[in-house]
């Protein structure tokens, strides 16, 4: 493997890892703070991708505007879903959370099939991000993938700032460590949950919208990504955003380079990584000991 190929694969790994991070951080926040295991998180990614497919003809080249509109729609959807379904799950056990969110997946997938059909659709890369740049020699790298990585980094930094530097973030962190105490201090915990959930849905949908031009949109795209997100969360440690970041990048590298070196059994690599982490640190890399 020459240096150019190696560099391209590294960039791909980072880009894939960062995209996973957007998804996994929402999942881990929702679990860490509300104690809800959400199987439908992959559906929000799928919804985001189909939103990009539906909205891109309307917005043309105003790609950023489209992302903004999509995020707003997804946040509203998340807010409503929390109100209608998820708010009933906080006091229930995990089994019922698994069931209800599994039911939601079936509903979302079937609605998708009714509204858009079961075909694979491509989403156009916006003209101003089309093309690629040279990495020296024969290798080149598409601008859009670089943009995707950059967008994810911006979002990660923004999320870090919100969680660690704002009043809302303070409430979120407090809610994660002691729910009853936060309620006792007079903070409207139900509203806080609703905001966090809407934020998680918006992040997942955004990840879907960003990846749509690279991966095209197809049925069941949510399920496969959900399971990879679970692997990320298990490796990183539940409730830890830093852990999710480290684990996402690890998974990104293992998966990408696994495809290069062991094409046939590449699907297994990340699960072996998870097994190693479970033997070494069952609570995850950054998880708190239980």
């Amino acid at each position: 493997m020459d240096f150019g190929t190696f560099l391209v694969q590294c960039l791909n790994s980072v880009q894939y890892g960062l995209l996973l991070f957007l998804l996994a951080s929402g999942l881990t926040l929702i679990f860490g703070i509300m104690g809800v295991i959400n199987l439908a998180h992959g559906s929000f990614y799928m919804i985001g991708a189909y939103m990009a497919f539906a909205l891109s003809p309307l917005f043309g080249d105003s790609f950023l505007l489209m992302l903004l509109a999509g995020v707003a729609l997804a946040a509203v959807l998340g807010y409503l879903l929390e109100w209608a379904f998820f708010s009933y799950l906080y006091q229930r056990d995990h089994l019922q959370q698994v069931l209800m969110t599994y039911g939601l997946i079936l509903v979302f997938e079937e609605l998708r099939s009714i509204l858009v059909g079961n075909d694979v659709h491509g989403v156009k890369v916006p003209a101003w991000l089309d093309g690629s740049f040279s990495l020296g020699g024969l290798m080149s790298y598409p601008w859009y993938r670089l943009f995707a990585s950059a967008a994810c980094i911006v979002l990660a930094v923004a999320m870090y700032a919100v969680v660690n530097r704002t009043r809302l973030g303070m409430m979120i962190r407090a809610g994660a460590s002691n729910r009853d105490m936060v309620r006792g201090l007079g903070i409207d915990i139900r509203r806080l949950y609703r905001i966090v959930f809407a934020g998680g849905v918006a992040l997942a949908a955004l990840a879907g919208m960003i990846s749509a031009p690279m991966s095209s949109v197809y049925p069941n795209m949510g399920a496969s990504v959900l399971i990879i997100c679970f692997v990320v969360v298990v490796i990183g440690g539940i409730g830890s955003i830093t852990g999710a970041l480290v684990a996402s990048l690890l998974v990104g590298f293992v998966d990408t380079f696994g495809k290069v070196f062991f094409a046939e059994i590449s699907g297994i690599g990340i699960y072996l990584l998870m097994a190693v982490v479970l033997i070494w640190r069952p609570e995850g890399l950054m998880g708190r000991k239980t």
Binding site: V98, Y102, I105, L106, V107, E110, G267, I268
Partner: protein
């Protein structure tokens, strides 16, 4: 999570288990088996096929009930053991078919072996972690069969000649019916015995409060691992039967939708009851048939997953204790 159990709840250790109660609990299932055994030769092709399908799924559901209902371990990757049992059956049969007993041991053994590995790793975690880890390892097994040439890739492989031993030849549909019925009765009986044994009491104790069981001196990890391996082997039995019935296996057997559906079946029936797992399997299969029948639901039949999803959501909202719970609520006498 384990600290949430109320202090007043007593451990269900060492229940007085007089033989009378054991036999009373098994009376209705024994009757059902007898009725099916007598009726088998008179069932039409479609009805017979449907009953066999439900019985195999019931074995699969019962094996998961041992984990979820009896031990309190929510596994979302149980289809892996089912699929591995099925693949082992097909891969172990040559072009001339194989010995039924040898293949049965092979199927249950491979499933148990994978359960041992997955259980040893995933039982290091608990609660929501355990759900995610079991799902992930099941997905890994799915990818092995889907992406590699081991089992014919995504198309799966055919079983050319069904297993047989002496006069017991599974090519014969009636013989298959009786073998599946015997397997179901055996699984039910085994689990009923486990429930009433010291081992089963320890599992129930772990479900209520693992911390307390550890404090009393039980090596809870090994108890849970044993339950996980037994459940895996029984799922392998169901896999052996489904491969013998269909004559073909494909990676979809291991898909996580299968794991989700079997979990749904035992919850639909009502956790903590063996007959709940069987009733839930029957109810779920009928529900699926009903929701996809044009004559009954009209054009919605093409979108049965939508109706199924809505039914599941409504079910969690209104019937969290399952059908057995509903029966108990309607008849105050019928506790247990």
């Amino acid at each position: 999570m384990s600290g949430a159990a109320p202090m007043t709840s007593s451990l269900p250790l060492a229940p007085a288990a007089p033989a009378a109660r054991l036999s009373r609990g098994l009376l209705a299932p024994a009757l059902a088996v007898a009725v099916l055994a007598v009726a088998a030769p008179f069932l039409g092709g479609y009805a017979s096929d449907l009953v066999v399908k439900v019985m195999i799924l019931a074995i699969f559901a019962l094996s998961l009930e041992l984990l979820v209902g009896m031990t309190g371990l929510v596994s979302l990757g149980h289809a892996a053991f089912y699929g591995i049992g099925a693949y082992a059956t097909v891969l172990g049969s040559g072009a001339e078919g194989g010995n039924l007993l040898a293949l049965l041991v092979l199927a249950m053994g491979s499933a148990a072996l994978y359960a041992l590995v997955v259980g040893a790793l995933s039982l290091r975690t608990r609660g929501v972690y355990f759900i995610m880890v079991t799902l992930a390892f099941a997905q890994m097994a799915f990818f092995v069969f889907h992406d590699t040439k081991v089992g014919g890739g995504s198309d799966g492989i055919y079983l050319y000649v069904r297993p047989s031993i002496g006069p017991v030849d599974l090519e014969n549909r009636l013989v298959l019916f009786y073998v599946v019925l015997a397997a179901l009765a055996g699984t039910y009986g085994l689990l009923a015995l486990i429930r009433r044994s010291r081992f089963g009491a320890a599992l129930a104790g772990i479900r209520v409060s693992e911390q307390r069981m550890r404090a009393v001196g039980f090596p809870t990890y090994f108890y849970k691992l044993a339950a996980f391996v037994i459940a895996g082997a029984l799922a392998g039995l169901a896999g052996f039967l489904v491969a013998s019935r269909d004559g073909v296996v494909n990676p979809e057997l291991l898909s996580w939708h299968n794991s989700g559906e079997v979990l749904l079946m035992i919850i639909l029936g009502g956790l903590g009851h063996l007959r709940g797992a069987v009733l839930g399997t029957v109810a779920f299969t009928l529900l699926k048939e009903l929701l996809s029948t044009h004559a009954l639901v009209g054009p919605l039949a093409d979108h049965w997953q939508l109706s199924l999803g809505l039914v599941i959501i409504g079910f969690v909202a209104w019937l969290p204790r399952g059908l057995v719970g509903l029966v108990q609520r309607l008849s105050p006498e019928g506790s247990r």
